[in-house]
Homo-oligomer: 393 residues x 2
């Protein structure tokens, strides 16, 4: 038997830019990054916009058209903008990806054309999947408009939509051409969306950067009061830590089983589902982090003092840290209505041995492969008590 | 303005194995490659089979089931096999990919499960697209059953289906987990399919390996007479050259504009379309190669003697080198019915400047960016004459 061994090295390069007023005429950033990649010809750009964004910025489509006119030597806007529903609806509606493919076809885009997606994480995921599969990948410029999208969901290498009731059942790994974080979009976020992205920053700080956690701890109240400068720093540092992780993890396309950034996420995913997505992802993550910190302490890994600091920080940022679904059927881990069933779903998702990340100290995670349900029940009870005490105060 | 620069290096590794009787019980290759990747647990494998293959091998599904039973400690076959239409129909039917996704869902496959696709290039492309997009990529074992799939279409990093009347409108770059070339499938190919894969071997030999061309030249008649040993060598060397090219081209995911292996392909693609796909890809490529060799000679790049050797080799392998569609509307290059319109379509596909590969000598290509239509008309006339003379003899 003969064998040919193949190794295909591929390197993906993209920049994440931080700006304000992206489509104001005197901001040439968008035009520059397109023109730089193909100076010889003005490439086509199809815009896909989150309906939540056009609601808060009804003038945006016109502004983009004006911008495109001003820079028509550098890129050609496809006249027909695509506005798609914001939030999980973008990922749940099985027709949207097909509609976007049709738009790509009508506009005769090719692999050197661009899709510019403006919106929250769900819209970026949906537009990204359409872009990643049309002509085996049209260049995608992501313009995330929420905190969560700017510091986490919008800067990575994945896309996806839901199918068969399963989150991200369809998707690809497809690094973007560029990401443009425009801080001015954050001003119009409703408060839950403003806050929602903070928990992912807390998570990555707890795993990777104690000094960043101290910053978040000091600034938690300022964040809750919508201090934009503090938020700018949070987003920048969180994006940077996420990107370093993707670049250096050794497994950016997740071919193995380990998901070292999924701290607090096994219960967060389950809580989103158990609350019918009434909890936003970031809100569920805050609860998941709090729970796993208490568990880490009960398991003798994390000091009580550090655990308290983390819980207090999350409360100061305005997060609710308990929800009744946490106490669902905790005596029946095999019941899909039990929070503990989330562990099994998490294991299935990883496709192998259960691996969850816990905390040894602020800035230092530790992976474990089994859990003690009694200890988790105790952790849930403690979290409930903590939340009740906070509300009383 | 702040910028974070991201570089994500990803390395894809896969082997191409050459075997016979893949699903005979004493051939443990298939089981071994699965078991080696996950010794701790028997992973699920969903089989997708080309209806053309089950037609010639009606016992194959039962054979695979028996094989799976024999190796059940190493992998678990999903009981429900998927048989999908062979040939371009697999890529044209918009429902098939959805059906395959449903099968993935029903079987609860995850990213550590496998799809094993058995068939010609079109079925591998379709199954590959379904595998590449479910859960952001289920491991794909390609089992190509035609010459073309074993030496070219089945060993690379792409997949795709047709949409909106455009070839490969949907697809991704997704290297396989492994490729298993089973030579016994070739015995039942009809003669056009047997021959069809030879032209891609001629192409890659002409561009990269003069000694391989000499082998093909010597063995052309043997190939036409279905000498299996000669075909084994053709497939192995052609696969090896293709894989070397993918690994070392510097652009395996085709982010740039150059397509250096597309020698003879601008007219081949157009001829497939102009003949309503009555010409198989490999048959069209043989004509495209002949045409571009004559043109290279008329343009003063290639010696007349080398050009003759190439034409004679293709004839000895049994290829028809002229088809009336070549002479369509050659005075109207902008007419979509003209063969020359294929140049514009090729340029559009590349998304930039026209770049076509011609020949300087056997084993040595040269890219050009413009063509002389008069010279091409002359080349077409010469090719027609050559074919007529061959038929007379």
């Amino acid at each position: 038997m003969k064998v040919i061994e193949q190794e295909v090295p591929v390197s993906f390069n993209y920049n994440v830019y931080f700006t304000r007023g992206l489509f104001e005429r005197d901001n040439s950033l968008f035009s520059d990054i397109i023109a730089k990649a193909s100076p010889e010809v003005a490439r086509k750009v199809l815009f896909i916009i989150d309906s939540g964004v056009t609601e808060h910025h009804p003038g945006l489509p016109e502004q983009i058209k004006g911008y495109a006119e001003a820079y028509e030597d550098h890129f050609r806007m496809v006249p027909e903008l695509q506005v798609i529903p914001g939030g999980e609806e973008a990922k749940n509606d099985p027709d949207i990806v097909g509609q976007l493919h049709e738009a790509v076809n009508r506009a005769n885009l090719d692999r050197h054309s661009y899709i510019a997606a403006v919106g929250g994480g769900a819209v970026l995921d949906t537009a990204g999947y359409a872009a990643g599969t049309a002509h085996r990948g049209i260049r995608l410029v992501r313009i995330p408009t929420t905190v969560l999208a700017q510091n986490d969901a919008g800067i990575g290498v994945k896309n996806g939509v839901n199918a068969f009731g399963k989150k991200n059942f369809l998707g690809t790994f497809a690094p973007p051409f560029a990401v443009l974080n425009d801080a001015s979009f954050l001003q119009t976020l409703d408060h839950r969306d403003w806050r929602s992205g903070i928990s992912e920053a807390v998570k990555v700080a707890l795993l990777k950067d104690a000094a960043f956690f101290e910053f978040l701890e000091e600034q938690a109240t300022a964040l809750n009061n919508r201090d934009e400068e503090v938020m700018d720093h949070l987003i920048y540092r969180c994006a940077e830590l996420h990107m370093q992780h993707i670049a250096t993890s050794g497994d950016p396309f997740e071919m193995g089983s380990s998901r070292p950034l999924d701290f607090g996420h096994w219960s967060a995913h389950k809580l989103e589902q158990l609350t019918d997505y009434n909890l936003r992802h970031g809100e569920a993550v805050a609860i998941g982090l709090a729970l796993d910190c208490i568990y880490s302490t009960l398991a003798g890994m994390l000091s009580e003092e550090e655990c308290r600091r983390i819980l207090r920080m999350l409360k100061a940022a305005g997060f609710r840290l308990f929800t009744p679904e946490l106490s669902n059927r905790t005596d029946e881990p095999e019941n899909p209505a039990s929070i503990f069933y989330g562990l099994e779903e998490f294991r299935e998702h990883l496709g192998g041995e259960l691996t969850i990340m816990l905390l040894e100290g602020i800035g230092k995670g530790r992976e474990v492969h089994e859990v003690d349900f009694d200890l988790y029940r105790e952790a849930i009870a403690e979290l409930k008590l903590f939340e009740e005490q906070c509300i009383e105060v």
